[in-house]
Symmetry: D2
Subunit: 396 residues, 4 copies
Amino acid sequence: MSFQNPVFIPGPTNIPENLRKACDMPTIDHRSPLFGTILHPARDGVRKVLKSDKAEVFIFPSTGTGGWETAVTNCLSSGDKVLAARNGMFSHRWIDLCQRHGLDVEIVEASWGAGIPVDRYEEILTADTSHQIKAVLATHNETATGVKSDIAAVRKALDAAGHPALLFVDGVSSIGSMDFRFDEWAIDVAVTGSQKGFMLPPGLAIVGFSEKAMAATKTGTLPRTFFDVHDMAKGYANNAYPYTPAVGLLNGLTEACGMLMAEGLENVFARHTRIAEGVRAAVDAWGLELCAETPDVYSDTVSAIRTPEGFNATDIVTHAAETYGVAFGVGLGDVAGKVFRIGHLGSLTDVMTLSGLATAEMCMVDLGLDIKLGAGVAAAQEYYRAHTAFAQKAAA
Amino acid sequence: MSFQNPVFIPGPTNIPENLRKACDMPTIDHRSPLFGTILHPARDGVRKVLKSDKAEVFIFPSTGTGGWETAVTNCLSSGDKVLAARNGMFSHRWIDLCQRHGLDVEIVEASWGAGIPVDRYEEILTADTSHQIKAVLATHNETATGVKSDIAAVRKALDAAGHPALLFVDGVSSIGSMDFRFDEWAIDVAVTGSQKGFMLPPGLAIVGFSEKAMAATKTGTLPRTFFDVHDMAKGYANNAYPYTPAVGLLNGLTEACGMLMAEGLENVFARHTRIAEGVRAAVDAWGLELCAETPDVYSDTVSAIRTPEGFNATDIVTHAAETYGVAFGVGLGDVAGKVFRIGHLGSLTDVMTLSGLATAEMCMVDLGLDIKLGAGVAAAQEYYRAHTAFAQKAAA
Amino acid sequence: MSFQNPVFIPGPTNIPENLRKACDMPTIDHRSPLFGTILHPARDGVRKVLKSDKAEVFIFPSTGTGGWETAVTNCLSSGDKVLAARNGMFSHRWIDLCQRHGLDVEIVEASWGAGIPVDRYEEILTADTSHQIKAVLATHNETATGVKSDIAAVRKALDAAGHPALLFVDGVSSIGSMDFRFDEWAIDVAVTGSQKGFMLPPGLAIVGFSEKAMAATKTGTLPRTFFDVHDMAKGYANNAYPYTPAVGLLNGLTEACGMLMAEGLENVFARHTRIAEGVRAAVDAWGLELCAETPDVYSDTVSAIRTPEGFNATDIVTHAAETYGVAFGVGLGDVAGKVFRIGHLGSLTDVMTLSGLATAEMCMVDLGLDIKLGAGVAAAQEYYRAHTAFAQKAAA
Amino acid sequence: MSFQNPVFIPGPTNIPENLRKACDMPTIDHRSPLFGTILHPARDGVRKVLKSDKAEVFIFPSTGTGGWETAVTNCLSSGDKVLAARNGMFSHRWIDLCQRHGLDVEIVEASWGAGIPVDRYEEILTADTSHQIKAVLATHNETATGVKSDIAAVRKALDAAGHPALLFVDGVSSIGSMDFRFDEWAIDVAVTGSQKGFMLPPGLAIVGFSEKAMAATKTGTLPRTFFDVHDMAKGYANNAYPYTPAVGLLNGLTEACGMLMAEGLENVFARHTRIAEGVRAAVDAWGLELCAETPDVYSDTVSAIRTPEGFNATDIVTHAAETYGVAFGVGLGDVAGKVFRIGHLGSLTDVMTLSGLATAEMCMVDLGLDIKLGAGVAAAQEYYRAHTAFAQKAAA
């Protein structure tokens, strides 16, 4: 394992040096007051990144999937109806989780390349006058397709329908990288993990619960222990956990939130947009298309790139790994073989991104695609250099 | 946080240098073949530590509690009857988990200081001629009381009763430190975590499933997704996970198993016994008693030490942390305030242990207990020096 | 290599976690302004630790021996006369270095166990009316014998004699651990390394030059390049080095100085005294004697302990390493085989020290010395517990 | 300090993950046998990298400059005559060192862009019939100009002249990256550091001495202590050092040599050539010229690139650091402002190199040079992709 080149998978991200060091911690007593000095700043930091004043933040030694399960098992009961759109592999998996837990999922199918069909949500919610639907699921950023959905619009749909369902948002590949407003969008449960916008190793499910979601936990009867938020809350009140916490990752999480707040969330988002725009400029220069169908749904954390008919996009990923030691993401589910993905989230620079684009170009040429070497790189370079502080000062 | 002194909590343990380095790993693509070179050796290593030829090993980004939940939700259905003994905080918590998941737990109460009452198990199993009991739970080492139970005897009780119930064993604070025989004892599900005998940071639930347990998963109907072993097995077959694996910890796990096998499991167990004997010699020299009632149940990984009536044992733990920067374990549940615990598992030397004993002595004297400084240390020193290779050669 | 037990050698010390992380740094451009943000705080920090307002601090990728050579080659010329006392291996080596560089060393022989004979210094200096002596050498703390000398008194001797010789002080095993006053004692060159009071890995020679020493460099004609302070000063003025600096160690040095200043130098010194007193109480309880002949010369960073006639003290060191995995220091030069040394400097706690004392006891008993196990430990425990904040509050 | 982008300075290089971990080591007793298990493999490893069977390898806590001083002070005496060519900043500095140590240097001036004028060496050596010249200095790779010299030819010149002078070779930026044959070229002293081909942090001077050089140390009378090879050899014979060794770096050195030998020296050299060819293809595509005047002297570890008249090449370096967070090397001495340097040695991939080239392009365009974005990248991509195992298999 040489670890020389950056990775371009859509998470886990490249881990900044200071975060690796923060996570790599000798053992401390997690039942001592010392642990409280790690736990509470981590929770406070997450709350800020969620743009929330009052979300209850829970952090499990788990992953985003565990976060989904936390949302579902704490707030809902067997047979409850939930509304969900399926527009990619990750929204599909969350739906599957709901079904396995005995929920009745009303699935809105959408194109794998489109965002959540908010109009359909509104129609269904409006029609549900008896409020059978207990929760609405929304995947903010479909990591499989590089598609961003409009969570503010989902909230508006709920409000327009006057519907009291809970709003569960999967922000796994958006939180900490793209604008996310827990309070403003009146989200009830937000779910993410440590290994995306927080730039940490995997191993944490991070969830935020609204007051309304906390209330729902009192009626939800799905069995739960490991993911029980009441046990967790009770532990937190004593600077503790109901079991052994992942202390090093929590320490890293505090540091990660500090990095994000020091850079400024809006600057972090702008950086992700800038880097993504460069990638999109390259895709355009290559004459290829994104899986995301329209600019309004372009993701700033991952680009899924369609390759020509008859070409197996997965070959690019395999070839990049074997020949150049670079990791891209394969297509999943319906778009397997049709797209390859460039992750561009977390700790990344324009310069690192250019090396990923240069690699993708070499791979595509090696595999016979009609791509001009340097073309995508040049398009991205042009975008990046025009958006430096230097260029902007020069232009002023 | 100064991290200078060793910790003496019953897990997480002190982490060996090479394991910290193995865990502190840059990001790799967990969907690439490279990941398989980390995953499979980790699983193989665990299997060896379990002394099993054919256990299916599953590793979740979670903790031992998640391991309990894995056992229960994969093999059982709502309303199933299980048999369990309660002789400490951790057996209590597992029972609680079962109850929350809708199981009907037949609880055998036992003294907090005694092992599993195997005779009662046998009576109950023999009486259960209709085989309503689907699983028998056994906590191999009660971390709260420093009590070891006889799993071979539990197996014999099942066999004597001719009972087909599954045998679930919590080996969280025994596996990798005390003798554990998955195959010989015909265990069906064994549960542990990364932060005890494996000497790693917390963050992994590690479970072994027998063929019979795997068969039971086909009929178990408790809802599960995150802890579903079929999803996990399907992933493993493709060098992958159903979600993002904790790659660094898995890498550490391979290294940890390698360390244990290089030292030799029997040598590892003998080392734990030697260190524990020194601690027990010190306790005796102090004129104190263990929570564990009889020598046959003395744990080799943790000693819970009773303090005199009217003395709050927790004060020792608080004082050690505040005044000497040393972490011991508090008493939990029924023995809260009555015992303090010295963890002596994982990566520990005689020399490190002596510093813990010396600290405990200072604390007890500071807090007014009638202890002679150096007395316990001398007893342990005598034991340790008599059991070095040097002494044994000299004696020969 | 297991790295579990602390080391008790008189340097390099145990390295605190944060210093290891500060040193373990990716490559930066040492010719960029970024380097200046590491270099200058390191130099400023050292100046504070030296208790100097105006010393010129130079830091070489080298060791204390290189620091000696820096002092000599920059300020002196072939044939120059210097005055030096020989009372241990390290003062001997510095004398040897002078002789190899063609200096005429007037050697004052002293007992290996006594401090610098300041009266003899004064007599010689007073007699040297033509000021042939260009420099006076003084080893503040003889690491080989655990003997501290009185540098203030050496300064007084120079002043009483009205002698203009430069005062060179080897503070390798004192600076950062024992009181050291560059300005007040009017020291001209102070020499130390990274691996003692600064608690860092070896690899840096750290020297402070007075204004008078800087003036002497203009006349000193001994050949020098690597250790030339003018090249170094010229580099520093440009945020640079005359060659490639040890950037990570410099980064660690800044952090180390920050730790020392945060604890407070006087608190650091008091901690070293407390820990040393505990060791001395143990030595006394063992019925042994220090190499240091009188209490006024007892070192707070290392204790050289005499073993009985006919016993090879080095056997303790060998046995401790082989049997218990603990490192002590052997006797060197005239006291080889007659003493073993316990280093107690840098990052050390009372608790760690007790484990060293317990080990020494086991070794001595193993090797047939008439020592009572636990006796030294108890004496040290008594001292340490009587000097905690807790005890002092209780006593008040 | 963000450490995200690779560095492109001609040393210190990017440090591979495993080497950072090997260097970041807790303290061990450097006077114990354990130290021998680090020291000797490091020396053996270096010997192999030097392609020598019998060189005496000495490793000082120092830098390459200290290595130069080691060669000079151990083998020569004040007033001795040496022959040296000056064709760049580093050969200049070595000459300066000789002069400061009182040697009589016969300087052959050469163009900064040309190699050592071997013909002139031969003329001078042939003319020196009385063998006044005691040593011939040769800088194998001038880091300042990116110029490689022909050491085999220097050896031939000595042999042709039948001259017994010692051959001292500065291999600081060649050893471990470019072909270097200590035995075949009959080198007497080879000098390098840890931070170039060995890919380690700075802090070690690494030298190899031939038998003839060892013999010369018996007559060399220049004063020396820190750099004395006899003290060092005496220490090594006892698994020790004359002072405190840089244990972590030595441990890293063993690991580094292992990496180089595992890849295979010839493969390492071929990799450096391939990466360098890509850089040179980019330079050509930019319409710029190397400082190195002819292809036979092109360095495979660093390229110094001439910028157009009237343009300050240093601006590129400053701009790259400030705007893109990328480090290139500035021009030094006679070529300051006229060249900027791209270091491409040590741990580097084609992909990393492309990001450096992309950055250089953006900088040059930002600063007004007439460069086409992507042009140099494309030229390098073409070269790299044509030289992968994949392409070569496809072509076969």
